[in-house]
């Protein structure tokens, strides 16, 4: 238990900050630093990334010393399906149109829940798709094809 860092709240937070700060600093090396009087585009990012790494190191060390665990469980499944539903929506929207994109999005995102009830998801998808077509296409006048290849597109 003592050396289990995988669920150590502050250790992971610190690690994440160090990683983001590190990548940020590394990438900013490509941007001219300039001088304090004439700050280049790399000045502010490098200062910030450095600061983030410093905070990250502090939090990481504190995590190792305090050993506090992450509360609750990780909702990896929900996170995966919710993110996937957004990606699926974006991908389908460009290729097949708004209605297929919304249908795909609802079915994928519904898998993120605790239970998947076919009938409910079908009804919900139908109702919300109608609502969203009403609001976005007719209400706000956004120029998206409902289904690519149907109705003049």
């Amino acid at each position: 238990m003592r050396f289990d860092l995988r669920n150590n709240k502050d250790f992971l937070a610190g690690l994440l900050m160090l990683a983001i700060g590190g990548i940020g600093f590394y990438m900013a090396l490509d941007y001219p630093f300039g001088t304090t009087q004439r700050m280049g585009p790399g000045y502010f990012p490098r200062v910030l990334a450095g600061t983030l790494m410093a905070f990250g190191l502090y939090v990481l060390v504190r995590g190792v010393r305090v050993m506090e665990k992450v509360k609750g469980v990780w909702g990896f499944k929900a996170l995966a399906f919710i993110s996937l539903s957004l990606v699926v929506f974006g991908w389908t929207m460009d290729r097949l149109g708004m209605i297929p994109a919304l249908v795909a999005m609802f079915f994928v995102s519904a898998y993120a829940g605790h239970e998947f009830r076919w009938k409910e998801v079908v009804v919900l998808t139908a109702v919300m798709t109608l609502l969203s077509v009403g609001i976005f296409i007719y209400g706000l006048g956004l120029p998206y094809p409902l289904i690519v290849g149907v109705g003049g597109y």
């Binding site: 910030l48 983030l52 919710i82 993110s83 957004l86």
Partner: protein, 500 residues
């Protein structure tokens, strides 16, 4: 007298048919969505932001402000009826509001929350009209060093006073500033952190960050656990509070308004700290403190007035200085920027219709809340029964279509997914997203002012300490950071957030 002329001018703007409709729609939709369990005001605003972008600036801001307090009030309704706080400020309302509901007094609790909020809202509106103009006039004298120091103060105090760990919150501010850098540097024209993706040279869209960090992260957090809450729906018969209730609530409402107005106006502090403090004060001065937590009406009236007062006065630094006090205000500021209005003291003089129209509409919005909510309580209660498995895909739908519509590009939707993963991870590791979004909004401005300040001073960093206004901001920043490091006070803050 000028104040009244200005307010009257504001009412002429806000009372046009079109703006009145937007105000009403905003308050109604805000309450409607805010009431839904598991959807806080931040998520409500984040998901509805893209819809307002197609409106003219004044109408968009009026509608957003309506959504804001509609959502806040809706959140109180959920807190009282389901014991489910949508945001930290509503945690306090849960304590006694839910107990009142269990005793069959949900009606009076909801009514007193509405009345307290309305009173606080009126006072808040007057305070903005009173203090806004002189503050903006003063701020017009600010140069780059003053602005930089002021932003630093806002960000540090936001991180330090916010809920949660101080060091992590400061780190989140820095992370937010870094995310704000993504895009093309205005001075050199160089694309920074764009990873070779052309869409990213315009920066990461503001609603993308808001939706990813707040909506996606919150939905996933809600889906982690299977908790079911009992809803007290059948018992709402008597809506009107008794005379004794009103008497008991009067001073808590007044005190709450005062405390809330004070905290709301400070950059970096928002409704949550003010409602927590109000609750503590009421508990301290009550004759019988043991009633608190068991359905004391003062415990609903005070904090509700307080968070609404804070919600109003938070507009003071946002509109006059361009420094948002809370994550919600950061969203408002972002909306302003997207409408092509550079936030800052010049807004009041260059866009008087926007400033005064918005203020007048706040009052109208508050009045609408009272008029609308008491009769509609039955409808809100019905909404509470909607199962979450229907809600969350629908929220995702609004977020997805809304973000797609910004640039008609799927890239924004993909970025939402990526920031959602980041947002959820941060939430799990107890890194607060609110300081992050403040940093993100202020990032580009802060870099620009730092650059200008150092250019004027020929690279001499003491410029921040030799100019009196800038020096006072720096000293205040140091003071705020110092007192929070002091163990005794830090303990008090934790008490305020936990004991409640």
């Amino acid at each position: 007298m000028e104040m009244f002329n200005n307010l009257i001018y504001g009412f002429t703007v806000a009372l046009t048919f079109q703006n009145l409709v937007y105000c009403f729609v905003g308050v109604f939709v805000g309450t409607l969505i805010g009431v839904l369990p598991g959807i806080g005001p931040l998520v409500t605003i984040a998901m509805l932001l893209p819809i307002t972008f197609n409106l003219p600036p004044v109408a968009a801001l009026i509608m957003l402000a309506g959504i804001y307090y509609g959502a806040q009030y809706g959140g109180s309704t959920t807190a009282i009826l389901v014991n489910l706080p949508g945001e930290t400020a509503a945690v306090v309302t849960c304590l006694d509001g839910y107990q009142m509901a269990r005793q069959g007094r949900a009606g009076p609790a909801l009514a007193i929350a509405a009345i307290g909020s309305f009173f606080a809202g009126c006072v808040g509106t007057l305070l903005i009209a009173l203090f806004g103009p002189p503050l903006a006039e003063w701020a017009l004298k600010f140069g780059a060093p003053e602005y930089f120091s002021l932003m630093l103060m806002g960000l540090v105090s936001a991180a330090v006073l916010a809920h949660g760990d101080m060091v992590k919150s400061l780190a989140m501010v820095v992370l937010g500033l870094l995310i704000g850098i993504v895009g093309t540097d205005v001075n050199s024209g160089m694309a920074r952190y764009s990873f070779g993706i052309p869409e990213l040279t315009d920066g990461i869209g503001f609603t993308v960050v808001a939706v990813g960090l707040f909506a996606v992260a919150e939905i996933v957090t809600n889906l982690e656990s299977k908790e079911r809450k009992e809803v007290f729906t059948s018992k709402i018969k008597n809506l009107m509070p008794t005379v004794a209730d009103l008497k008991a609530s009067f001073w808590p409402i007044v005190r709450g308004t005062g405390i809330g107005a004070f905290f709301g106006a400070l950059p970096g502090t928002g409704p949550s700290i003010s409602s927590f403090s109000t609750y503590m004060v009421e508990k301290k001065i009550a004759k019988d403190p043991s009633r608190f937590g068991k359905g004391a009406i003062e415990g609903v009236a005070g904090p509700e007035a307080s968070n609404n007062a804070a919600a109003q006065t938070a507009f003071i630094p946002t509109l006059t200085l361009g420094i948002p006090g809370s994550a919600t205000m950061a969203l408002m500021l972002g909306a302003l920027t997207i409408q092509g209005i550079a936030p800052g003291p010049q807004v009041m003089t260059s866009k008087p219709d926007l400033f005064w129209g918005l203020i007048a509409s706040m009052w109208i919005g508050n009045a609408l809340l009272v008029v609308m909510n008491l009769p509609l309580v039955g409808l809100w209660v019905q909404l509470l029964k909607i199962p979450y498995r229907w809600l969350f895909p629908s929220i995702i739908m609004f977020c997805a279509v809304g973000n797609y519509s910004l640039n008609n590009s799927p890239m924004d939707v993909y970025m939402c997914a990526i920031l959602g993963v980041l947002g959820y991870t941060l939430a799990k590791l107890e890194c607060e997203p609110a300081p992050l979004i403040l940093g993100y909004v202020l990032g580009p401005l802060m870099e620009e002012n730092l650059r200008r300040a150092l250019l004027i001073s020929r690279g001499d960093p003491t410029v921040f300490f030799t100019r009196p206004i800038s020096l006072s901001f720096m000293l205040l920043t140091a003071f705020i950071a110092f007192i929070m490091i002091a163990p005794a006070i830090r303990k008090k803050k934790e008490e305020a957030y936990t004991s409640g």
